[in-house]
């Protein structure tokens, strides 16, 4: 809708294209100040801190077995939970889009609950639900499955937290997917699984990757919903954010910042990998 656009080949000569609309300096100045104070300055403090004992100090702070175990738990559990969420999130999105059943709208709204529910509330609820005396925990106990106070508990909490990211990423794509698409596949003799695998899945793949990336990012840094159910045994069920908290309690700022920077770096690497996957997918699809 950019009518009256400057003629083709136009490139801003200055850093900003002149505009007859007022208010740029006020709005932009406020934006920059806010971003500077609220985002950039704190981030600079984070990135600058780990090096006060040099690179060795940073490495030493990370390679402690306890820290490594915590980082591994946070990122592995987040990966696995996001993978499971891709499958079950797709199932839920599919069911919500394709079938009419009583209470569909309520269920649809309910999917967003983990977005809106404070993590501490989710945390104590999951801990008591999956604890040895909880509704579900007491059912699992005789089977020899312990969820609460084990790494499995971390995984379960991340399942709950990440689910809406996948559902909400997939749903709009699934909704806009032309029904004729599947029907065409059917008239060409494709069986239902064939049409699902060859026709529907490729169209959904970018949204599934997006959902995975969001669920993973949220899970890797998750704190509130995890610490109650995890049991927080160092080296076993302790998550990376908790290591930061512990170090801060000991006034080890550099050590806390080291773990923070390591988490940020790992998240960025994961983001780069998922972006590369998106690009590869787009190229294969000829788009």
């Amino acid at each position: 809708m950019v009518a009256l656009a400057p003629s083709i080949g136009a490139r801003p000569a200055a850093w900003r294209e002149p505009s007859p609309l007022p208010g740029f300096h006020l709005a932009f100045g406020f934006t920059l100040t806010y971003v500077g104070v609220i985002i950039l300055l704190p981030l600079a403090a984070l990135v600058a801190r780990p090096w006060e004992h040099g690179l060795d100090g940073f490495v030493a702070a990370i390679v402690q077995p306890r820290t490594l175990a915590a980082l591994r738990l946070s990122f592995v559990a987040a990966t696995m939970a996001a993978l499971v969420n891709v499958v079950l999130g797709l199932l839920i999105a599919w069911v919500l889009c394709r079938y009419e059943f009583p209470g569909r709208r309520v269920v649809d709204a309910l999917v967003d609950l983990p977005f809106a529910l404070p993590t501490a509330v989710a945390g104590i609820a999951l801990a008591s639900l999956y604890g040895p005396n909880g509704w579900i925990g007491s059912l699992l106990e005789p089977l020899g499955v312990k969820v609460a106070y084990t790494p499995l508990g971390v995984f379960v909490a991340l399942l709950a937290v990440g689910l809406p990211f996948v559902v909400r990423a997939v749903q709009p794509v699934l909704q806009d997917l032309d029904a004729g698409y599947e029907e065409a596949a059917k008239t060409l003799g494709a069986t239902a699984p064939q049409s699902l695998w060859r026709v529907v899945m490729p169209a959904l793949a970018p949204a599934l990757i997006t959902g995975f990336a969001l669920a993973f990012a949220r899970g890797a840094g998750e704190y509130g919903s995890v610490i109650f159910i995890a049991g927080n045994m160092p080296g076993v069920s302790e998550i990376a954010p908790l290591v930061i908290v512990t170090r801060l309690e000991q006034y080890d700022y550099a050590g806390a910042a080291s773990v923070g920077v390591a988490m940020l770096a790992l998240s960025l690497i994961a983001l780069l990998i998922t972006n590369a996957a998106q690009v590869a997918l787009a190229r294969r699809g000829g788009r």
Binding site: A3, L4, S7, G9, P20
Partner: protein
Amino acid sequence: MTLTVDGIAKRFGRFPALAGVSLEARDGEFLTLLGPSGSGKTTLLRVLAGLDKPDRGHVLLDGADFLAMSARERRVGLVFQQYALFRHMTVARNIAFGLDVRPASSRPHRSVIKQRVEELLALARIEGLGGRYPAQLSGGQRQRVAVARALAVEPQLLLLDEPFGALDTKVRKELRAELRRIHDATGVTTILVTHDQEEAMALADRVVLMNLGRIEQIGTPEELDASPASPFAFEFLGEVNRLPCQVVDGVALFDGFTAPTLGEERQAGQGEALFRPSDVRLDAAPTADGLPVRIVAMGGRGALRSVECQALSGHRVSAELPEHLAGQFEVGQRVKLTVRRVVAKVTNPSPAERPAPLAKSA
């Protein structure tokens, strides 16, 4: 309101959008800015509206410096290509907006605004649509609202950017006539941007033909038709044929015939002649003068027929003939072709003082 544009230039980066443009719009005149995309016509309109600042030049409105005023102060009515109607306001609120936002001291009374909106709805022939939202209107109705909204502030100048671009052909013709009627009723000096030569010629008192940031020609539609100033003007204003020729003293020489040249080409030498299908004549008499050609196809219905001819050299020429003349010919027939008038473009000038050797027949 007389508008004087003097030497306006504007660059975007290294791209010269306007390279020194001067023109004058007389009070109450309807001008169209016509040109291909990239010709600078929209940039000129944006400069007039105050949305872009030129690098050089002056714009005067009745002698007063127009560039010193902000877009807000200029009181121009601008109709956007996609109309830019306020989507959350009803048609009536849209039209009233320019009056509503005036400072309390100069804002007309509510009842006056209401009456003015009614008048404009009637002028634009959209009575009864005042309560609708833009999303509930057809494309043509939206354009009428946009024009009414622009006129509400009693603009000194009405500017329209490709206002028919988003409409289908039938609605377009209808609205074209409506716009001219509204212009004649209000008498507001109007400038319309378009890339459609038929539209430009049909609407305007005078057409400003632009190319590559410059004005190629300004004139009434008749003037542009009768004496195009350049090959570009000739080509842009209608369908053309091309044949190689020699030019001497303002006359184009072909195999078998000559034709007078229009325009400003004063050089002599080898070049190319451009001419309209309607200026082509065919003669079946074997003794007649003219380029020998063979008719390869005939088409069209109604009063005008098109006849496709091919010369021995392989060049193809299409002719447009009245039905009764076209009826004399058939596909495959060999005929002689002459042209009433051409625009010549010399690409290979002959050395001065030495007229080029003439072709076999002169």
